[in-house]
Symmetry: C2
Subunit: 460 residues, 2 copies
């Protein structure tokens, strides 16, 4: 039974060189997380569907991967249904699937915090890096299985947490040499206040969804879409005014709210929070990454309740490289006490694509093997093998080539694996104990007549 | 909608302290893999069911987690079936599920090698660490989602690969301080030769399965089970003789085959291979880990064709901590050319349990935060925040405590996170710039009146 091998759509294999680059990104982010006191946790890929369902909106529920129950999973269907025509996914799925693959790392975090609260140290600062799954239509840069990378603080309402998370962004992007990025921040309470001021309190969710589209469509198109949705014409006018406010290229809307010219209590709280975070970041950061207040930033997900942030890269047609914000009610859905949380997320897949395109990965990314020892024939294999052990015992990562191919291929092998030197060992070398060292890339001799110990010095 | 949060059966959350310990094991193994020239790859969790099905036997197929197709996945069922009573899993599953979760890392490796052979450097030495999923009945130490950790060489038939892999085992277990373990090796060709010599060639698979049980049941019980299976009585006698051969506490069976007393060509090849690997390992290794030839070692999986190995830990009631062997035909199932492969696997979950029970994890396992700065009240919060930044800029992992709890809880927080020192900052400290450093564990003052720079020296 021979099958032409292929991947399930929207999934990927990673070659060693790709894994090395991905690890470089992960390790950079992890080191910063740890420096700031965040600890790593893990949750399973498989969650009960009752944990996942209803948390991501109707659209999200459709995108959950569901896992078939084991054994005779159709027994309940045979019990409850009497005709094949009754088999509709909506009704059948709950009967045959009770598990699913996690859709993000945030809902599992909420479950985790409620479930393990007695074992955790609060404020709980955790990070989590791992794959999530969505039954989305795959397209360039969008996969059904992809990594998320999140840091969150649960159980502290201090705004200094927001400032620290922004600093983590800045530090990571500097380390990755993507320093030409911009942290755009806004505050959900400020937007809520503006909606209230303009008499749109009851339409707040539509307002957020609309504003969120402003980087893709024009104001006019947005207003038209609202007309089409059947919003009353006075609301449309209010919306127009609100959009005027937030698209002004100045801080006027902020000062108007703070001065009380635009009167809204919740808006004023939001404005103060925004200013505090902005100024505190500026005061405590002197690097290259920019920060701006962007009143048009809304972030689609509706669980945010305070500061929101997105990382934009200027002059590069790519979405945000990360985003996050404060949410006040996440643990409530699992019956936990109301714990305020704030978190950020790194868009690993986009960061990778961008670094690849801009050639930002360091040349020697993987600490690979330093030297490849090649036995010229089977007579010298065991001798060569022993030399490799000696090198390794001296702490030098070394490899013996055990394939049966031409010299050119041996060099190609070494080059592909990023090995710097090659030493061929034949009967001569075995007798004399003198070796000829060659550079892999330049295909050139570095020197000959080395003893193994001289070679050791050369390499270490 | 409040739900009491819980995990899907057979899955686990990991607390920060557990992740740190697991990472310690992974990092130790990875560093040895890399030193020997193995490179990391990744494959997706989701594979096509056509890739997975039929590779793990009938029992394995039942244990595959299958993922429901998206959209109206029941359309085909409604087309093909006319009565509810026809709904039997065996027939319905292929109509509603085309994807599954990987069951191990070996079949994905075979697919990967065939699919990417033009991009890989051969001999291809890869390692892979990641979760796999099996719909097994969960029990102590057995999970539905668990990690595998494999290293394999594909495309080289040299027995020195076997020796290197055994050395990797030895080096890893020494580093993990589990040096009282034993590498038990055998050779499938030797067993095949013995089966041939005793006239059991046609029953080789049953012989392997039987021998594999010899560490759990007695010889007599094993023979009885063969009688029950309806094997002819002359075969039972032959089997008895074969078992006598392999359970002798000497190398007699090996020398008999090598001397030609027991005549079998394939057995002789196996005996020579076994001796070569054994002697070559002894010659090239001087550490504490023992190696023994164990003629009763069979390893259940039937794709092995040469050397087989298992890591046993003496005086500890736990299964093997790892196992592996050579397989010659794995890539063939995906239409690849016949590439010989050899690999080993670490039983991560068991290694973890054992290290935990024997207290083998180092005390300071995670490079965590060194000092916790605690603002005494909201007036000193911003000042404290700046001091934390200064410490971090000097390379000292530091944290500010932003929770609102009693002093005792602050110490508990620091202790749980493995933070060594605590510095409280109130109005006095802010004015004087002098700090009092306290040990977290001992709850004792290390000294007071330190300036920040003195503190820095103390900490770094």
């Amino acid at each position: 039974m021979k099958i032409k091998p292929s991947l399930s759509k929207g999934t990927r294999d990673f070659l060693p060189s790709e894994v090395a680059k991905r690890n470089y990104i992960f390790d950079t982010i992890k080191s910063v997380f740890r420096k700031y006191g965040f600890e790593q946790i893990e949750t399973p890929a498989i969650e009960k569907l009752e944990t996942l369902t209803g948390k991501y909106g109707e659209e999200g529920d459709k995108l959950l991967f569901k896992i078939l129950n084991s054994g005779d999973y159709l027994a309940e269907v045979r019990n409850q249904k009497s005709a094949i025509s009754e088999l509709e996914p909506q009704e059948i799925t709950p009967l045959i699937a009770e598990k699913g693959l996690r859709y993000d790392l945030t809902v599992p975090l909420a479950r985790y915090v409620v479930q393990h609260q007695d074992q955790l140290a609060f404020p709980f600062k955790r990070f989590h890096i791992g794959p999530v799954w969505r039954a989305d239509r795959p397209q360039k840069g969008r996969y059904q299985e992809f990594y998320q990378c999140d840091a969150d603080v649960i159980g502290s309402s201090s705004l200094l947490n927001e400032v620290e998370l922004l600093k983590i962004y800045a530090e990571v992007f500097e380390k990755l040499r993507i320093a030409n990025c911009e942290l755009r921040i806004n505050n959900r309470k400020l937007l809520e206040g503006l909606a209230e001021y303009h008499g749109l309190k009851d339409h707040f969710e539509s307002v957020i969804t609309g504003i969120d589209k402003l980087d893709k469509i024009t104001k006019e198109q947005l207003l038209e879409s609202y007309v089409k949705l059947g919003m009353p014409s006075n609301s449309i006018d209010s919306l127009k005014n609100l959009i005027e406010d937030i698209t002004l290229k100045s801080d006027l809307v902020l000062t108007d709210i703070l001065d009380g010219k635009k009167k809204t209590t919740i808006g004023q709280v939001g404005a103060k929070e925004l200013n505090f975070v902005y100024e505190s970041f500026i005061k405590n950061y002197s690097g290259q990454v920019k920060i701006t207040k962007d009143y048009t930033l809304a972030r689609g997900l509706n669980y945010y309740t305070g500061l929101i942030v997105e990382v934009k890269i200027n002059g590069f047609a790519i979405g945000s490289l990360g985003g996050g914000g404060r949410y006040d009610n996440l643990t409530e859905i699992f019956g936990g006490q109301n714990m305020s949380g704030v978190g950020i997320s790194f868009g690993i897949e986009r960061i990778y694509d961008m670094m690849e395109e801009l050639n930002l990965f360091p040349e020697h990314i993987a600490e690979g093997v330093k030297v490849l020892l090649v036995p010229r024939d089977s007579q010298t294999e065991e001798y060569t093998f022993r030399q490799v052990q000696t090198l390794r015992d001296a702490g030098i990562p070394a490899e013996i080539f055990l394939g049966n191919v031409k010299k050119q291929k041996q060099f190609a092998y070494a080059e592909q694996k990023g090995i710097s030197y090659i030493v061929e060992i034949g009967a001569n070398e075995m007798e004399s104990g003198n070796f000829r060292l060659r550079h892999v890339k330049e295909r050139q001799e570095v020197g000959s007549g080395f003893t193994l110990s001289e070679l050791l010095q050369k390499l270490s």
